[in-house]
């Protein structure tokens, strides 16, 4: 006699809490073969707004944490992912329709990616910043500083990226002290929500990573036009509709957001993804013995 399973409810992740969409809407998530997997929350523009508010209120404190601390928090995510590996493999198998081996490879890549980025937290500033030998009695130092609140569209491909793509977008954004509102893979959002649950039980402060499930086409314009969003990562926006991401970039120009254009697949880990969302701040101070 087999035991009756207890299905999981997948909700949004905003400000450290897991609310349903304020709109009450859900959408059906299926496997590639069409089998019902779950009812995911269909986030609305108001959920996006709430997520931006949560991200903003968490940003200063997160950026103010020591880089060592942010690095440890990110590493802790990798540890927890490792411990819940089976769950993620299972979700990827279901929602992407791939074999356990393929899904396992994606989970492993995701864990390694967190570890790689975690190590950057207290190093990227040394690579991206430097002292400047100005001609005069001044101490002059350029250091990178988080841009602020970043909105991101996770890669939307049907296979290979549902977990890895989200992590590859989120990790480089948050490690420098940004907070993020990320729209998960629309068709395969389950592992994204589970990842958010991992974050909530790790040491990531509420509001640092906010995950919305639903339609990028519906949510992205609101995020692109939101005046309190400082930057836009359009990694997965290429698939919204042919060329629609250009309109997002045009919208983003209104408040001079920094914009990263779409990529194919999950963005490869790189220092450039970190520095895309930092501002170089140069501080001058007078120097004198007298």
């Amino acid at each position: 006699m087999s035991r009756l399973s207890v299905p999981k409810t997948y909700k949004l992740a905003i400000g450290g809490a897991f609310p349903r969409s304020e709109s009450g809407r859900t959408y059906v998530v299926t496997s590639p073969a069409g089998e019902f997997l779950a009812n995911a929350s269909l986030a609305s523009r108001k959920d996006a707004r709430d997520a931006v508010v949560a991200a903003r209120s968490a940003q200063a404190k997160w950026a103010g944490a020591t880089a060592y601390n942010r690095g440890q928090v990110l590493y802790r995510i990798a540890e927890l992912l490792e411990g819940r590996r089976a769950q993620f493999v299972d979700e990827i198998v279901q929602s992407e329709g791939v074999t356990a081996a393929v899904a396992g490879a994606q989970v492993d890549a995701t864990i390694d990616l967190w570890v790689w980025y975690a190590g950057w937290a207290d190093k990227y500033a040394q690579v991206a910043g430097n002292g400047n030998p100005v001609s005069g009695p001044y101490f002059n130092l350029s250091v990178p500083d988080a841009t602020g609140v970043v909105a991101a569209i996770a890669p939307q491909d049907r296979t290979g990226v549902s977990l890895l793509g989200l992590a590859a977008v989120v990790a480089p954004i948050v490690l420098s002290g940004n907070t993020v509102v990320v729209v998960a893979n629309e068709a395969a959002p389950l592992s994204a929500i589970s990842l958010a649950e991992v974050l909530a039980t790790s040491d990531v402060p509420g509001g640092v990573v906010n995950v919305l499930t639903g339609s990028p086409a519906e949510l992205a314009p609101w995020l692109a036009s939101h005046a309190d969003v400082n930057a836009l990562d359009l990694a997965g926006a290429g698939s919204i509709a042919d060329g629609a991401w250009v309109d997002l970039q045009i919208t983003a120009a209104e408040t001079l957001k920094r914009v990263l254009p779409p990529v194919e697949g999950a963005p490869a880990p790189s220092l450039e993804r970190i520095t895309a969302f930092v501002e170089t701040k140069t501080v001058w101070h007078t120097k004198a013995m007298l």
Partner: protein, 503 residues
């Protein structure tokens, strides 16, 4: 007699050998433009200096084509060392012709000769010297082992530091291996045209630098030209926005240096006399035509009255008048249009209830002038505390605690500059961390150096000019690939996507 009046000490214009009219500098030669030529005038006298050609779309095409040819055939194939040598040559020629350039700049822009002579032109030479040395060292710029030039750069610069902004744009672009088409502001084309002559004297290969003159229409045609790989703009935030929209989806790399509303924060323990000097140079340097000007003075409430009093005393020694007089501190406003804007915003300041003060100073009858002005009793909600005035107008606000100072300083859509005046180093550093501004000057203000990156947060634009960071604006990184496996990522074609949504 009054000693302080100082007898006139005019810099001679005899050193200038200007032509009556200037063409466009395309492919190494001056050629006629197809737009309607216009006169550039001296803002201090409203007298005509020279006639300048106007580039229309066909001229922009020609200039971009010349830059493309020069890029493909010459500049991209030349060794970094040789590119560097050309830039060193240019730097030397600028030093040799420094006085002439200083006089031309003062004449055309209206800024005091003291500033063009001691600040603008020396920095121009320094900028070329600095980037000249980078040309054969790009692999050390932190952009991977083989960073690549972008191609043709379209550069549009403002009128506040005409030749210096040209140097900020052209020096790193050329060092990185790009060719350029640059458009100076329509009210200040003169020194860019003299720079074209310098390129000829340096024997710079034809087409590597092209200078086209004209107004907004010319600039629009240039930045939206299909065969341009890079757009760099310094100017107002509204125009920056327009350019960001025009460039969206094209894959052109874009850097923007836009407006600002810098906060100059003075604590009660500050070195007061030096703070007063910093406030003065922060907002009255270059008639306040400075994007990073300290246009908002945030002063700790317990020293407000004393500081304002000292500031007023100090302003009374500022000398406004002939830009070519070596003792002039405040020159002319660059254009009637800008003067009208400064007047309008100042009038709004008064209507909003702020208290307006200017020192007694004689305003010349011809030309465009605006006396240094301080507004006290300014609230954060006043327009003079929020809008960039781009003139010699200071808004004074107060704060009570460091926390309030940070909150007020950051309470603006801009994020270019900020100043901190305190003798307490720990507070200075903590404040510098919290200020959302690309340049923070502590116990100094309005200092520039080719080795020091400059640029803004938020609506003050993006990208940096100056230093190693300034090279990133003109290079494609060769990339760091993480040594771990993940699915390959490649950029989607932007331009194709753009066409799909053609409007």
């Amino acid at each position: 007699m009054s000693f302080l009046e100082y007898a006139p000490a005019p810099e001679s214009t005899a050193i200038l050998n200007l032509r009556d009219s200037y063409g466009l500098f395309i492919d190494g030669e001056f050629v006629d433009g197809h737009g309607a030529a216009f006169a550039t005038i001296s803002p201090s006298t409203e007298k005509r200096i020279a006639e300048v050609a106007c580039a229309d779309a066909s001229d922009v095409d020609r200039a971009v084509a010349a830059a493309r040819r020069a890029y493909d055939r010459t500049w991209s194939r030349m060794s970094g060392a040789d590119r560097g040598k050309y830039l060193f040559r240019i730097a030397r020629l600028i030093q040799e012709r420094a006085r002439e350039l200083a006089v031309a700049e003062s004449l055309d822009n209206g800024k005091p000769i003291k500033e063009t002579r001691d600040v603008d032109i020396p920095l121009v030479a320094a900028w070329f010297f600095y980037y000249a040395g980078w040309a054969d060292k790009l692999e050390y710029a932190g952009l991977g082992s083989s960073p690549r030039a972008l191609g043709v750069a379209a550069q549009v610069i403002p009128w506040n530091f005409p030749l210096l902004m040209l140097a900020w744009k052209i020096a790193p672009a050329l060092a990185a291996g790009n060719t350029v088409v640059l458009k100076p502001a329509e009210t200040t084309p003169l020194t860019a045209l003299l720079f074209a002559e310098i390129c000829q004297q340096a024997d710079l290969p034809a087409g590597v630098v092209n200078i086209i003159t004209g107004a907004g229409e010319t600039g629009r045609a240039l930045v939206s030209h299909d065969d341009v790989n890079k757009v760099a703009f310094t100017g107002s935030t509204p125009v920056g926005r327009e350019i960001a929209r025009a460039v969206a989806g094209t894959g052109k790399k874009l850097t923007l240096e836009l407006g600002g509303k810098g906060a100059n924060i003075v604590f009660d323990d500050a070195a007061m006399d030096q703070a007063v000097e910093g406030i003065v140079s922060g907002i009255f340097f270059n008639q306040g035509h400075v994007c990073c000007a300290g246009s908002r003075l945030l002063v700790q409430e317990n020293v407000h009255d004393e500081l304002v009093d000292r500031l007023k005393t100090r302003l009374s020694t500022l000398r406004l008048g002939d830009p070519l007089d070596k003792n002039t501190d405040i020159g002319a406003i660059n254009s009637r249009e800008q003067l009208d804007r400064i007047r309008a915003l100042s009038d709004i300041g008064e209507q909003e209830g702020a208290e307006r003060w200017s020192p007694a100073c004689e305003i010349p009858s011809n030309g465009f002038w605006f006396a240094p002005t301080i507004f006290t009793n300014v609230s954060t909600s006043h327009r003079i505390a929020r809008d960039e005035i781009f003139g010699p107008v200071l808004s004074v606000l107060t704060f009570r605690t460091p926390e309030e100072a940070v909150a007020k300083a950051n309470n603006t859509p801009y994020g270019l500059s900020a100043g901190i005046w305190t003798e307490k180093a720990s507070r200075m550093l903590a404040l510098a961390d919290r200020l959302r501004a690309g340049v923070v000057w502590a116990n100094t203000f309005n200092k520039f150096d080719p080795a020091s990156p400059f640029g803004g947060y938020k609506e003050s634009g993006y990208g940096r000019e100056g230093g190693r960071h300034g090279l990133a604006a003109y290079l494609e990184a060769s990339g760091w690939q993480a040594p771990i496996e993940s699915s390959p990522a490649s950029p989607r074609s932007g331009r194709k996507a753009r066409k799909a949504v053609a409007k």
